[in-house]
C-alpha cells in the first residue's frame, strides 16, 4: 500500500522534480565553464522547431537568381564554424528550446541561465520592464561593418516599429533584434465560409458555424479577438478609421483591460466556448485539413503551413485578416542579463549569432524550415525578395495574375517603390502570400498587444478560469445524487475493510 501511495505522490510531484533537475543542470554548466575559459559557451534558448537543422535533400535546393541555397548542416554548427573563421574565437552553442513564453519565463524565474533567448514581443516588454535584459551593443548597430547582417538587412518597416514602440520610455530596438513576425487571422475553407464572414472576429460566436470553428487555446489571442468582436461596430466605422490619430486610438481600444471590458470579454468568451469546436493548442492545423472545422483562428505563419499542407491534399484553403484589427506579433532575440554578465565575450558571440541568422541566405534557410516570415528584407541584398518571388510569384504562362506590392516591407528610404512588386497568381492574394507578407491595408489596421502587468495578469487569468471551468452552481441535481452515491460506495468499502481487519485481529 505504501508503494502505491508513493507512486501517486510521484506522479504529482513530477513537475516539481523537473523544475529541480533543470535548476541543477543550469549550475553544472557554470562549473564546466570555469574550467575552460578560452572557449566561449553560448547558451541559446529558442522556440521548439524554430531554427534550420540542416540535412536537406539535394532536390530541396532553393534556386534563386542570385544564389542557390541549401541547408547541409544545422544552423548552430554552421555558426560555430563561421564564428571561428571570422573572429578566431572558439564558441560552443548550448541550444535549448521552450514551448511557450510563459514556460520560458518560469524557467528563468527558477534560475535557469541563458545568454540569448527568443521570446515574443509581450514577453520582451515584460523582461525589459523587470530589467532582466542587457541592451545590444553600439557595434551591433554599426551598418559599416559587413558582418552586421541584422542592422544592414532588417526591414525598414520592422525597424521603424522596433524604434518607436517601447515600454517605460525605452524602445524595443535597444534590447531586441527581430527574428520572425506575423499577424493573426482566420484560415478558412472558401467552400464553407465566405471571405466576408471570415473577415470579422464575430465569426467565433456565429451560430451558423456552431462547433465548426476552432480557436487558439491562448488567453491573449482570445482576449484580443473578443475585444475586436465586441468593438466591431466602432472599429469598422468610417469615422474611427479616418480619424487622424487612428493608429494610436486603435492600440488603446484593442489594449483595453478596464474591469468593465474584462467582464464583457468574459461573457463573450463564454458564448464562444459554447460555440466553437474547441480551444486548440496544436490540433487546429490538422483539423482544417481533415475538414473537422471550416475556419481556424491562427497565426499567419501557421496559416501558411496549413494551406501548404492542404494544397498537397488538393484542398484549397484561404487566409484572411478580420477588418476590425489584427494582432501583429514578433519573436525577437534578446540578451539575458544574468547570463551575459558572467562573461563579456558572451555578448559578442550572442550578437554574432543574431547576425549569422540574419545573413540573407541563412534567413531563407530558417524561413524555409520554419514556415514563418523573417523580419529581414536583406538591405542591399536582393536574395530575400527573390525568395518571396520564388515562392509566390506566378509562372510566366500564368494568365490570371495580380500585382502585389511589398514596398512597405522591402523598399529602403528613397528607393523606387515599383521595384518590389510580385506578380502573383490571383488566388495567392487571399492565400499563402497574404499570410506570409500581409498587404499594406492589413498592416494599417494591425496593432501591438502589450503585455499585461501583474494585476492585469491576475484579473485576466481569473477571467480565463471563469470561462474554462464549470461553476459549482451549475451542477445539476443528478450530479449531486451521483456524488452522494459514490461517497456512500466508498464508505461501504471502508466499512468492509475495517470489519475485515477486526476479524483478522481476532484470529491472531
Amino acid at each position: 500500500m505504501r508503494n502505491l501511495w508513493i507512486d501517486r505522490v510521484l506522479t504529482l510531484s513530477l513537475a516539481a522534480g523537473i523544475l529541480l533537475t533543470s535548476a541543477a543542470s543550469g549550475r553544472t554548466v557554470l562549473a564546466e565553464e570555469d574550467d575552460r575559459p578560452e572557449k566561449v559557451v553560448l547558451r541559446v534558448c529558442n522556440w521548439e522547431e524554430y531554427i534550420d537543422l540542416g540535412d536537406w535533400d539535394e532536390e530541396e535546393t532553393i534556386e534563386l537568381p542570385s544564389a542557390d541555397i541549401i541547408g547541409e548542416n544545422s544552423m548552430i554548427q554552421d555558426f560555430e564554424e563561421w564564428y571561428y573563421d571570422t573572429y578566431g574565437i572558439e564558441v560552443e552553442v548550448e541550444y535549448s528550446t521552450f514551448g511557450s513564453n510563459e514556460d520560458l519565463y518560469n524557467t528563468l524565474t527558477l534560475g535557469d541561465v541563458y545568454d540569448l533567448i527568443c521570446p515574443s514581443e509581450y514577453m520582451i516588454m515584460k523582461l525589459m520592464e523587470e530589467k532582466q535584459l542587457v541592451p545590444l551593443s553600439e557595434e551591433f548597430f554599426d551598418t559599416e561593418d559587413e558582418n552586421n547582417y541584422y542592422s544592414r538587412g532588417v526591414s525598414p518597416f520592422i525597424k521603424n516599429i522596433f524604434d518607436t514602440k517601447g515600454i517605460d520610455g525605452e524602445m524595443w530596438g535597444k534590447y531586441a533584434a527581430g527574428y520572425m513576425w506575423g499577424v493573426t487571422g482566420f484560415v478558412y475553407n472558401p467552400e464553407e465560409v465566405t471571405q466576408e464572414q471570415a473577415s470579422s472576429w464575430k465569426l467565433l460566436s456565429d451560430p451558423d458555424f456552431k462547433r465548426r470553428v476552432t480557436v487558439k487555446d491562448s488567453v491573449r489571442e482570445c482576449y484580443f479577438a473578443a475585444v475586436g468582436a465586441l468593438k466591431s461596430d466602432l472599429l469598422t466605422s468610417e469615422e474611427f478609421k479616418n480619424a487622424p490619430d487612428y493608429a494610436q486610438r486603435l492600440e488603446e481600444e484593442m489594449n483595453d483591460t478596464s474591469p468593465g471590458m474584462i467582464a464583457q470579454v468574459q461573457e463573450y468568451l463564454k458564448t464562444v466556448k459554447d460555440n466553437v469546436y474547441s480551444f486548440e493548442s496544436d490540433a487546429g492545423k490538422a483539423d482544417m485539413i481533415t475538414g473537422k472545422v471550416v475556419a481556424n483562428y491562427q497565426w499567419s505563419g501557421d496559416g501558411v503551413y496549413t494551406m501548404d499542407q492542404a494544397d498537397e491534399d488538393d484542398l484549397e484553403l484561404a487566409f484572411t485578416v478580420p477588418l476590425e484589427s489584427t494582432d501583429i506579433y514578433f519573436d525577437g532575440w534578446v540578451l539575458y542579463k544574468k547570463g551575459i554578465e558572467e562573461d563579456p565575450a558572451k555578448q559578442h558571440a550572442a550578437e554574432a549569432f543574431i547576425n549569422f541568422n540574419s545573413r540573407p541566405d541563412n534567413a531563407i534557410r530558417n524561413m524555409y524550415y520554419i514556415g514563418y516570415t523573417s523580419v529581414l528584407s536583406g538591405g542591399d541584398d536582393p536574395l530575400i525578395f527573390e525568395y518571396a518571388d520564388y515562392n509566390y510569384g506566378a509562372e510566366e504562362d500564368e494568365e490570371d495574375t495580380e500585382d502585389y506590392d511589398l514596398s512597405y516591407f522591402f523598399a529602403e528610404d528613397g528607393e523606387e517603390s515599383g521595384e518590389y512588386v510580385i506578380t502573383a497568381p490571383a488566388d495567392q492574394v487571399n492565400r499563402q502570400l497574404s499570410a506570409a507578407y500581409p498587404p499594406e491595408d492589413v498592416i494599417g489596421r494591425s496593432c501591438i498587444m502589450t503585455h499585461f502587468d501583474e494585476q492585469q495578469t491576475a484579473q485576466i487569468n481569473r477571467m480565463w478560469i471563469n470561462i474554462r471551468c464549470m461553476s459549482i452552481d451549475k451542477v445539476p441535481v443528478w450530479g449531486w445524487i451521483l456524488t452522494a452515491a459514490a461517497l456512500a460506495g466508498m464508505g461501504v468499502m471502508m466499512g468492509k475493510r475495517i470489519r475485515m481487519m477486526r476479524r483478522i485481529k481476532k484470529k491472531h
Binding site: 500500500m1 508503494n3 502505491l4 501511495w5 508513493i6 501517486r8 505522490v9 510521484l10 504529482l12 510531484s13 513530477l14 513537475a15 516539481a16 522534480g17 523544475l19 529541480l20 511557450s100 510563459e102 519565463y105 518560469n106 524565474t109 462547433r211 465548426r212 487555446d217 488567453v219 466556448k273 466553437v276 469546436y277 474547441s278 480551444f279 486548440e280 493548442s281 490540433a283 473537422k292 495578469t457 491576475a458 485576466i460 487569468n461 480565463w464 478560469i465 471563469n466 474554462r468 471551468c469 464549470m470 461553476s471 459549482i472 452552481d473 451549475k474 451542477v475 450530479g479 451521483l482 456524488t483 459514490a486 466508498m490 468499502m493 471502508m494 468492509k496 475493510r497 475485515m500
Partner: protein
C-alpha cells in the same frame, strides 16, 4: 564495510528523497506562501471560496466516477469469463486486452478521435461523453488485470461447495465469487479513478474545453501564479491520499497484474 541487504535500498531511498520528498516540500512551501515569501492561508481559502475551482473538482470527480463505473461494468464480465473459462492459452487472450497499452498513448487517442468522428459526426457536440469514452479506452486494461488475477485465484471448491449446498448460479456468484473478488475491484477502481481525475490530455485531444484539475493547475502556472497552482496540487494530493487510505487493500493483486503492463 559490511554489505547488508539493506544497502540495496539506498538507490531507491536517494531517488525518493531527491525526486519525491524534496519536490513535495517545495510544493508545500509554495502552497502556503504568497509572492513575497510570507506564510499565508489565502491560497487555501481561495480554493474553497471559489465556485469555479470547486466546480472543476466536481467535474473531474464526475468524469472519474462515470469512467470508473463504465470500466468496471465492461471489465468485470470479461475478467470473470476469462478466469472461469477452460481455454488453453488464457494468457494470450489476456494479452489481447492489454496490447493496446503497448501502443503510444497519444497515437491511440488520435485514432479514437477519427473513429468517434465517423460515429458521432461532430465530436465537439459531446464533450462529456467523449471524455468518458477516451478515458475508458485508455484505462480499461488497468481494471481488467487486477479483476482477472483476483477472480482466477478464488478457490473453485468454494463455488462447488455453494452449489452442493443448494445455491443456484446467481446466488453462488452474488454470495461467493463477488465478495471474494472485492480486493480486485478495489485495486482496479483506484487504478482507474485516480488518473481519470487529472488526465487532461485526453480531454484536450478530444476537444473538451472544460478544465479538469490537471488543466486548472497548468493555467495557474501559465499565469505565473505558482502559489495558487501548488495549493491546488497539494489539495489534490490530499484527496488522493484520503481515497487511497479508504480503499487501501488488494495492492498485492495490483502488483501481479501490473507486471503485464
Amino acid at each position: 564495510m559490511h554489505f547488508s541487504r539493506k544497502s540495496l535500498g539506498i538507490p531507491y531511498a536517494v531517488f525518493l528523497i531527491a525526486f519525491v520528498l524534496a519536490p513535495l516540500l517545495v510544493l508545500a512551501f509554495y502552497a502556503f506562501t504568497n509572492g513575497q515569501g510570507q506564510f499565508t492561508m489565502a491560497n487555501l481559502h481561495s480554493f474553497f471560496g471559489d465556485p469555479n475551482t470547486l466546480g472543476t473538482l466536481f467535474y473531474s470527480f464526475a468524469i472519474a466516477c462515470v469512467t470508473t463505473i463504465v470500466c468496471l461494468l465492461l471489465a468485470y464480465p470479461v475478467a470473470y469469463f476469462l478466469a472461469m473459462s477452460r481455454i488453453a492459452n488464457k494468457t494470450v487472450v489476456l494479452m489481447l486486452f492489454v496490447m493496446p497499452m503497448w501502443i503510444n498513448f497519444s497515437l491511440r487517442i488520435t485514432a479514437l478521435k477519427e473513429i468517434l468522428t465517423v460515429i458521432e459526426g461532430n465530436l465537439a457536440m459531446y464533450p462529456f461523453l467523449n471524455a468518458v469514452i477516451g478515458m475508458t479506452y485508455d484505462f480499461l486494461p488497468f481494471m481488467i488485470l487486477p479483476l482477472y488475477t483476483t477472480i482466477s485465484k478464488i478457490d473453485g471448491n468454494l463455488r462447488e461447495a455453494a452449489m452442493d449446498l443448494g445455491a443456484d448460479n446467481m446466488r453462488t456468484f452474488l454470495q461467493v465469487t463477488l465478495p471474494l473478488s472485492i480486493p480486485g475491484i478495489v485495486s482496479g477502481v483506484s487504478m482507474v479513478f485516480l488518473p481519470a481525475m487529472t488526465n487532461y490530455v485526453v480531454l484536450d485531444m478530444l476537444y473538451n474545453s472544460t478544465y479538469i484539475m490537471g488543466s486548472l493547475i497548468g493555467s495557474y502556472f501559465a499565469a505565473y501564479n505558482w502559489h495558487g497552482g501548488s495549493m491546488i496540487s497539494l489539495i489534490l494530493l490530499a484527496l488522493i491520499c484520503i481515497f487511497t487510505l479508504l480503499t487501501g487493500s488488494g495492492e498485492e493483486e495490483t502488483a501481479r497484474g501490473g507486471a503485464m503492463l
